[in-house]
Symmetry: D2
Subunit: 271 residues, 4 copies
């Protein structure tokens, strides 16, 4: 570790990020919703479904970083307005991604948590800008990044005066092709021993397979993760991005019936 003197590491009390009524780093935070905001109906129906199943926050992308410039890039401000409406309807706080430092200040008006995606983990201009945004930041691990590099990216945000950084393990790139990426679940206890910042996992993008989302979410809770961020789409096969990768609302509801009880059980285990 080159990072021994980082603020990400040296503070002794665990960071708790409060968003609405959820205390990330203390409670188990469940963030769910579609990959991208596609329409009002899709977003609000999905929001209601995940709320009803017990989610704490709504995720949804208005700006989508896509491999190809010709793929659907998100609805932009129109998407943010839909998220705002979904929040009004359900009370769920919003997690949404920002891609461009020029957009941070106004996207922050819509977002309860600003997400930095895996491709932007080392976009240092963007990190500094969200560090000055006054909003909590969910910082995804670069799919090619070591823990040391990741913590240094958290430090870019902390050093701008923003203490509310939530780390998100979302899979690293390896040779395996059965899964989309390889979820590095050992990052959960590793990060917990290295830093005071909360860590959640993304079982959707890491595995790329709906059938693996629940087992990996349960595993994350058993390993001590502070939450999950998961894709739920009302009609996965019609999704404009990551089709067939999302859970259905029914699948999500089933998982939630096991996830929260597991968390409660883990907290009661003898030390």
């Amino acid at each position: 570790m080159s990072s021994l003197k980082l603020a990400a590491i040296t503070k002794t009390r665990r960071t708790v990020v409060q968003v609405g009524e959820v205390k990330i780093g203390r409670d188990l935070a469940v963030i769910a919703g579609p990959c991208s905001v596609e329409s009002e109906a899709q977003t609000i129906e999905t929001a209601r479904a995940v709320k009803s199943a017990g989610a704490d926050m709504l995720r949804g992308g208005a700006f989508k970083p896509r491999t190809s410039p010709y793929s659907f890039q998100g609805l932009g401000i129109g998407g943010l307005r839909i998220l705002e409406k979904a929040k009004r309807e359900t009370g769920l706080p919003i997690v949404t991604e920002v891609l461009d430092p020029r957009d941070v200040s106004w996207v922050a008006e819509f977002a309860d948590i600003l997400q930095i995606g895996t491709r932007n983990m080392q976009n240092f201009s963007l990190l500094k800008e969200v560090g000055r945004s006054g909003r909590p930041v969910l910082l995804k691990r670069g799919m090619y990044s070591t823990l040391d590099e990741w913590l240094n990216c958290a430090e870019y945000i902390l050093s701008e005066g923003n203490p509310d950084v939530i780390l998100c393990e979302r899979g690293i790139r390896t040779f395996e092709t059965y899964t989309r990426n390889t979820l590095d679940l050992s990052a959960v206890p590793a990060i917990r021993e290295l830093t005071h910042l909360p860590i959640v996992i993304d079982p959707t993008h890491s595995t790329g397979r709906p059938s693996l989302i629940e087992p990996m979410s349960l595993a994350a809770v058993a390993a001590g993760a502070d939450g999950i961020i998961v894709e739920v789409h009302w009609r996965p096969e019609e999704a404009l991005c990551d089709a067939d990768q999302a859970m259905t609302p029914a699948g999500f509801t089933g998982m939630m019936n096991r996830l929260r009880p597991l968390r409660t059980f883990m907290e009661k285990l003898p030390a």
Copy 2:
């Protein structure tokens, strides 16, 4: 998957490998013991300790595959005799590695389960030989191997007439350096959906850090693993291989107080 017609895949009923009283694939199998057999005292004391903490089987290497030809290579037949004695004393069945096809028949006299290590996953001569040994085989995943290649290696054993193959995920090689390898825990549900063979995980070699062994073992149980194989050494700092990587008996005992209750809890979760 190139492996759609493999016996590893097409059998519909889940394989249960019975060793002594343990049914791997039904019960949670806990295999514990030192990396290598170093002395009678070390082995028998460790065996008693893990037995007392609730382990089902004893692991210990008499033949050690070492990076350097000048490192300790194991006690050979002397080590196997010590394992035999430890079994007599504790009743624990023995899991031990075999490296050379010429040794399979006589090592099988000492072993309840023959282990194939990560470096030998594609040692096809050795696979065929253990396929004819009449002993269950614990087949570690190559640190560089896809699930498809791994299942094909299981097939080398099955196709010789040996149905008792237990798969073991032990970490894959990635760019991350904080851990020794990257435990691919998503392999647990993936293997369970691909094949009827049981799968256990090795939290020691994958993480290389004693502090990560318990969280990853708990995570494995939550993800549906059929067991763990873990290094326990009475005096880890004196170990002749993998020093400071093993758990102490006390650490192992503590973990067992949480691991079996978690398994029981998982089995009672609503479907």
Copy 3:
């Protein structure tokens, strides 16, 4: 390849990017200079040395993307002014990195070629901005990126109307630790068969070892690369970034005595 209909691929004539008198994609382009601009003396002395050894362009960073927020981040506009002066003194065109979409228009006033670094390969806002800059762009491959993703990033630039994209292979992240990254030299002929865009290699960041720079540069020329971009520092051990990774001017001069003759030889080989 998902990229079959990209402009990066479908144009049939090879792209030649002319910068000053150099025609990248036709001539062998040699770009040399310090990792970062540290002082006027350092930059101008290095520029003179590489010019005298036969370099075609001067590289030097005024904005440095650094793992830690507490590392030297470059001299900013002061660094660009030094590069401007070095250009006036030596006539060498300037290649320099831009990190932030807000900086593109004014950095473009100083740069003959805008460099996009490996961490920003998928910074799509930045790509679009340099696509509108009117300047040629040197697009480094992400250290975690497939050829397909890389070509799609080139497409982000091309689709904004900028035809002058130069690809740069700079090493990918693997498990090997002897070298800093693994130079994927097979990307050179692969890119040449996939696209009409020129490709250069960066032997410094990929290997991280001065002793490997020359062999890999010679290899790149033999494999058909259109050029190299290499770090040369007048006093490598004093460099503020990547110390001990750069070539000395003497080492660079020696290499140039072999590199251009090799290119000439390759062009004369029977088809």
Copy 4:
């Protein structure tokens, strides 16, 4: 490097392995032939073609390590007899793989060089056996192996009293899918600075694309490699393994018209 005291490293004079008239480590060694020996006609015709194009040795597998137990596994001793006949007809020494320590002594009767494949790099029993065989050994790098591990495997052979080890870089496993593996060409100068043993490259298995074989072979010569080992098949599309990966005899002949002149040119470059 853990390997500072290895015989692989400490000898000061470069090792030259003489096989017939070829001095590997001094001359450029070109080893060519089919992936597997399939028939007398195929092998002898290919041998004549590569001999006529200037190859120094014939490669061909009689024992094939295959992912699936149901794939063609080679002709065994029948294949070795065909190789023997091809040697008699053409005078080309034979390079052939051995998979099982029990086969080493008799396979050595047919082979001028025993090949250890990438999957067996750390098959220590096999390494020790070829170390006692009295034959030169071509040791392929594990597709998952560091340079340090590779040199330690060479040491397993050297420490049995066999000084004639030739290293072969054949590509490492990465996330890139355009090529079959990623040829780590920087291993050539790295190995040359670390050890006195000769190093050749395998452009066929590393790239998996016939169109990349020649550029990477030329690059290897420019980087200082001591030779290449390349698959040539009289009718690549009919090959029983690695179909469409081999060069045609015509392609090989064309490459040889450029490869040897390049080597001569490299030797005349000013130091």
